[in-house]
């Protein structure tokens, strides 16, 4: 461990103002696309439902097979 203590000097530079402006801009444009987002997430949820149903079906078939083997 180095002996010199490390301090932080508070304050903001020009680059930070630029980054904050870019973040605000990005947030605003994201909000305008909300209908598109809703559509994509709903489609994803349907896909997820299909996968889960298939998994349920697979599990019940395995269970039946196991019962037959017993």
């Amino acid at each position: 461990m180095s002996m010199r203590k490390h301090y932080f000097k508070p304050g903001r530079g020009e680059s930070e103002a630029n980054l904050r402006a870019k973040i605000s801009q990005a947030l605003l444009s994201a909000q305008t696309d909300i209908d598109v987002v809703e559509r994509k997430v709903s489609a994803f949820e349907r896909r997820l439902e299909e996968i889960l149903n298939r998994l349920d079906d697979l599990e019940s078939r395995v269970k039946k097979l196991e019962e037959l083997l017993e």
Binding site: M1, G13, I23, K40, I51
Partner: protein, 253 residues
């Protein structure tokens, strides 16, 4: 070379602090030096999991941010306290005083803080990784934390609100060409079994999913009393955290 991560989520209660605490400990088991920084300013919680006493947190991150204290006065070395066999674990805690929380929330961070604290932790303690446990949500200050770290980890639960919020967050981050990864947390056990889950979520978000952590009631029962993986080294949760740590150690330099 220090690598800084932010651990972020769109919603609160997704397990950010639990994941941060356990992942950091796991990385020390790879003989890495890790610093965890509690930036969840409105509800700091890492100190509870690490069982850091109030007497160890007389000087906090807030003092450092305002230039009132040195980094070395804020850092708590938890390596021996947690009985870690190798590596090093450091903790930087945020103030629990309401007036100090309000002041920082009102004034916000400085972008320089993230770069400076990571650089100084590298100089003073030789850390390999700095993990920022951020405040949830999609707001300017949180995004500043995410964008100012080298790599972003987004934690997501599999409910519609969180999926939507994480999708929007991923879209915003992509505008900045940010290196991001997603970890699915508290995934219902039937869903976690689906082999396509990781690929489907990656496809939706346009971000690689590097971990799927099922919901384990034992984590809730543990009630943040210490670091779960240290108490339950053979639990499946520990193995899932190890898989994420493996990814970090092997892929993020």
């Amino acid at each position: 070379m220090v690598v800084s991560f932010s651990i972020h989520s769109y919603r609160g209660g997704t397990g950010k602090s639990t994941t941060t605490a356990n992942l950091a400990v796991m990385l020390t088991l790879y003989n890495r030096k890790v610093a965890t920084v509690d930036l969840d300013l409105t509800s700091p919680g890492l100190h509870v999991i690490y069982q850091v006493s109030q007497s160890q947190m007389k000087i906090t991150l807030n003092d450092y941010i305002y230039g009132k204290a040195a980094l070395e006065d804020v850092v708590v070395d938890l390596t021996n306290q947690l009985g870690l066999p190798r590596g090093k674990l450091y903790f930087l805690g945020a103030s629990m005083k309401p007036e100090e929380i309000a002041k920082l929330m009102r004034e916000g961070y400085s972008e320089r803080f993230f770069r400076e604290v990571a650089k100084q932790l590298g100089e003073a303690y030789g850390v390999d990784y700095v993990i920022f446990d951020t405040h949830p949500g999609l707001n300017e200050d949180t995004l500043l934390a995410v964008l100012s770290s080298d790599v972003s980890f987004m934690l997501m639960r599999m409910d519609k609100q969180d999926i939507t919020g994480t999708y929007v967050t991923a879209q915003v981050l992509s505008k900045f060409n940010k290196t991001s990864y997603v970890i699915l947390n508290m995934v219902p056990s039937d869903m976690a079994k689906a082999p396509e889950l990781q690929a489907e979520v990656s496809k939706l978000l346009g971000v690689p999913v590097i971990g799927v952590i099922p919901f384990y009631p034992e984590i809730l029962q543990h009630r943040s009393r210490g670091v779960f993986i240290l108490r339950h080294p053979k639990h499946p949760y520990t193995l899932r955290i190890k898989a994420v740590a493996d990814f970090i150690v092997n892929n993020i330099k």
